[in-house]
């Protein structure tokens, strides 16, 4: 067992919430017990963008630069593409060194703790960053969909940490059918044999937890497919309900799948709990258990509060259940190789400084706009915040076709031109505005975030958007 421990935690959940009441009004009943609201990703959010949100917060909490990370793991049951490594893009969003280990964990709701175990086992000199993010879906009438939430957590792992992992264990036992997603499908489902499902969950978890030394627990971060199962299995794991509830997120965020235990762990550590059990379950089935001892407080930055309550109709729009496919007309054609060339700008706002006159250019290509010299620009990473210079809010009919579906899902969106300063020079760029308030005023401060821009040739393009910077 390595002496590596936890340096910092970060967490993120989309601001949108739909309540159990909205489901009950629509369907006559709500099928996910113990859940009051679920978090709903915006049309341009997915596991990768949420993972970035949690990841930068974990790094910021500890004041660590992404360049100090030499092992990056990303865990989700919902990678944005069935094939194509998402972790490489996550590393690029963050600025993780290209020679660092990039590893993806998927296929099970315990992928998040699998990533944590892999980080602890990794033989690295520097820091390891474990990022778990998820956004499961089900059929609209299905209990899995009623429970389905969204969220992400990141755990920064390395030596000489304020919290250490004192014990860990795992258990695997074949339990087919408890929760699965068919190849090519977006929706999770199950065989819905309640006693079988509960037994698989309870017995697998209990076996893993039984193998660790878990005395004097202050909190237990237990896998939460809904808000009932963890408590049904509490007795078998030797836990009381309060220990689970103290760091549970399922009642507010819903089922966060591979991010479930990492989110509860981050919550427990952020709340100052000293001895914390992690216990994850993945269908198939398998379970991981580990114990964290926090001798000192663990730096944390969590952004998991809700901001906007959705009606069920608005929820269906966000899920794409009542929206059309991409309209005819076609998207702006930016070839993938062209996009690839602009990735430092798309992912990290890398501008260029003119070696002749010192002014900034964005994107940094062609002649310097100020002195008109044809130069090779020196890379300059822009700050995360800028100031709105001009702005509009685009209503239905004002959008390019590639944004029509996003607008059907999320409604009117803002687009600002914002100026960013570096060393006394300023450069501007157009950015879509996301968040609760999408129409900033000229002069407002905005911060940039990673979101989906659009998809063309089947390839999802990620880049920066802006949100009003309220500190």
């Amino acid at each position: 067992m390595s002496e590596d421990g936890i340096h910092a935690v970060g967490a993120y959940a989309p601001r949108l919430r739909v309540s159990a009441r909205e489901f009950a009004d629509a369907w006559g009943s709500f099928e996910a017990s113990g859940i009051e609201t679920t978090a709903v990703p915006e049309a341009d959010e997915d596991a990768l963008t949420m993972g970035w949100e949690a990841a930068w917060r974990a790094l910021a909490a500890d004041g660590v630069d992404a360049a100090d990370v030499d092992w990056l793991g990303f865990a989700t049951t919902n990678p944005p593409m069935a094939e194509a490594d998402p972790t490489v893009r996550l590393g690029s969003f963050l600025g993780v060194d290209e020679d660092a280990t990039h590893q993806t964990f998927t296929g099970s709701t315990r992928a998040g703790t699998r990533a944590l175990f892999a980080a602890l086992d990794a033989d690295t000199d520097g820091l390891a960053l474990v990022v778990a993010a998820d956004c499961p879906q089900g059929e609209p009438s299905d209990a899995h969909e009623h429970a389905a939430g969204a969220g992400a957590a990141a755990v920064l792992v390395g030596p000489d940490a304020p919290a250490t992992i004192t014990d860990r264990a795992e258990h695997a036992e074949p339990y087919p059918g408890t929760r699965f997603r068919r190849a090519g499908n977006d929706e999770v489902e199950g065989i819905e044999v309640t006693s079988y499902d509960r037994a698989a969950f309870r017995e697998t978890l209990a076996a893993a937890v039984d193998a660790v030394d878990a005395g004097g627990l202050d909190a237990a971060a237990v896998q939460a497919p809904d808000g009932g199962l963890p408590y049904r299995a509490a007795g078998a794991m030797g836990l009381d309900d309060g220990t689970i509830h103290t760091c549970a997120t399922v009642q507010d965020l819903g089922d966060t799948a591979a991010a479930s235990v990492p989110l509860s762990l981050a919550t427990a550590l952020a709340d100052g709990n000293q001895t914390v059990l992690g216990a994850s379950y993945g269908s198939g089935g398998g379970a991981d258990a580990f114990v964290v001892e926090a001798d000192e407080s663990v730096p944390s930055e969590l952004a998991v509060d809700g901001g906007t309550d959705l009606t069920y109709a608005e929820y269906l729009r966000r899920r794409g259940e009542v929206t059309s496919d991409e309209p005819n007309g076609g998207a702006a054609y930016v070839s993938v190789p062209t996009w690839k060339r602009s990735i430092p700008q798309r992912h990290r706002l890398v501008a260029g400084r003119c070696p002749e006159c010192g002014s900034l250019a964005f994107p940094p290509e062609g002649a310097c706009a100020d002195c008109r010299s044809l130069v090779e620009f020196e890379p300059v990473e822009l700050p995360d915040t800028g100031e709105v210079e001009a702005v509009t809010a685009v209503s239905r009919g004002g959008e390019p076709p590639e944004f029509a579906v996003q607008q059907q899902k999320s409604g009117e969106y803002g687009v600002a031109i914002a100026a960013f300063e570096a060393d006394g020079e300023s450069v501007s760029m157009p950015l879509q505005v996301v968040g609760t308030e999408t129409s900033p005023d000229v002069g407002d401060a905005v911060a940039t975030v990673i979101r989906r821009i659009y998809k063309q040739e089947g390839v999802i393009r990620y880049g920066r958007k802006a949100r009003i910077d309220d500190g």
């Binding site: 005819n328 007309g329 702006a332 994107p363 685009v394 959008e399 687009v415 879509q432």
Partner: protein, 414 residues
């Protein structure tokens, strides 16, 4: 260098015409231009043709020029297709003037055509979006409505321009368009109509945006050596100016002006030896209401902070001191992208020939046309004068004390 003259100009109706093709519309415009030449002209007299088109919908993207000129029996002559987005045919007129002034041609057909309404609204938005800066500006979620709305937001913040002032542009241009039988939206609108329309891209609403349009326009230009064969009352191309700029708004030095328009106006005024005070009317590029307000200051009619009041006060109405867009402008007459610049010259020709019917101004001598590509990536300005050079009003040439462009890029004038 010899002068070029405007001897004829005509357009098709502007509107939505499912029964027409881009070629049939071009034919109508060509026939109207040919028939407008006072002493007549034969097709065989045309030495060269220039055709402006964007190619909305993707039809005949290659060889779009010969595809329309062969349709009107002009095959054989040199034909060049010009694409500068919404300034395509303004630039085709400029190309025609260049051909004549260089001595390479005596009679040139300068023209434009576009069909925009036989594809879906989404497809039109695709095509409108391809002339903006594609990789960053469009992928922030804007078409031109959004980009001009950003300019409007800044204009309102810097100069106190109001939504009501923007709406006055629509009211005035519809009032004019209602008197133009070729106009697409030839009806009047009230200030309330223009204020209360649904938002397209805040602060711009539907009445602050021009329509999409099918249409064609043709202009016939002749050299000083042959002009007397066609008219006894020649209209001289007194000034031509053009300019370009960064394609994306975010890359420019200002969001409340179109520097390319300023470069173009400066160069046209310099060539003509005129200033804004010498104008009797102007046809400006009002693709969006804010674009007309910016045009006022970019061509030197007023300072930018005065632009809102300039329209609200009635100064630019048909009976005002400085009539702007007597044709109805892009807002009411319509905006068939590739045809728009040549279509503006059609209005200048009619006004200067006394053929503008109900909207005829009282004996105008000098008119200006102003055509912008995209949100200002390119612009072209022409000055036309009737008869002998009028005595200048005494104002110095150029836009005078009005805001100058961010940098002097040298003259286009001969």
């Amino acid at each position: 260098m010899r002068d070029a003259y405007l001897i004829g100009a005509g357009q098709s109706d502007y509107g939505s015409f499912p029964g027409e093709s881009y070629r049939s519309l071009f034919r109508t415009a060509f026939e109207n231009a040919r028939d407008s030449v006072p002493d007549g002209i034969e097709s065989a007299d045309v030495d060269e043709a220039v055709v402006g088109t964007l190619g909305v919908g993707g039809r005949q993207l290659g060889l779009a020029g010969p595809a329309v000129t062969e349709h009107v029996g002009l095959h054989g002559i040199p034909v060049t297709r010009v694409e500068n987005a919404c300034a395509a045919s303004g630039y085709s007129v400029r190309q025609g003037v260049q051909a004549i002034r260089s001595g390479m041609a005596d009679v040139v057909l300068a023209s434009g055509v576009e069909i925009m309404t036989d594809v879906s609204g989404d497809a039109v938005r695709y095509w409108l979006g391809v002339s903006g800066e594609t990789e960053w500006e469009r992928l922030s979620g804007t078409t031109f409505a959004g980009v001009y709305a950003q300019m409007a937001s800044r204009h309102m913040q810097e100069y106190g321009t109001t939504r009501e002032q923007l709406s006055h542009v629509a009211v005035k241009n519809h009032e004019n368009g209602a008197t133009n039988p070729h106009a697409q939206l030839g009806f009047e609108c009230s200030l309330e109509d223009a204020m209360d329309a649904p938002t397209v891209a805040d602060p711009l609403n539907l009445y602050h945006c021009c329509p999409t349009t099918d249409g064609a326009a043709c202009v016939l230009l002749a050299s000083e050596d042959v002009v007397e064969n066609y008219t006894d009352d020649p209209i001289r191309v007194a000034g031509v100016g053009a300019g370009s700029d960064r394609v994306g708004l975010f890359q420019r030095d200002t969001y409340t002006a179109v520097p390319a328009s300023q470069y173009a106006a400066d160069r046209a005024y310099e060539m003509a030896g005129y200033g804004p005070d010498d104008l009797d009317f102007a046809e400006v590029h009002d693709c969006f209401a804010i674009a007309e307000l910016m045009a006022y200051s970019d061509i030197g009619l007023c300072d930018p902070e005065e632009a809102g009041e300039f329209v609200a006060s009635g100064t630019t109405k048909r009976d005002g001191e400085m009539p702007v867009n007597t044709s109805g402008g892009l807002k009411s007459k319509g905006h068939p992208i590739g045809a728009t610049g040549a279509g503006q010259v059609v209005e200048a020709f009619k006004q200067l020939s006394g053929e503008a019917g109900e909207r005829q101004l009282d004996d105008p001598q000098v008119g200006l046309t102003h055509n912008v590509g995209g949100s200002g990536g390119a612009a072209v300005v022409h000055l036309f004068e009737r008869g002998e050079a009028p005595s200048a009003s005494g104002s110095a040439s150029g836009r005078g004390g009005v805001v100058s462009g961010p940098r002097d890029t040298g003259g286009d004038a001969a």
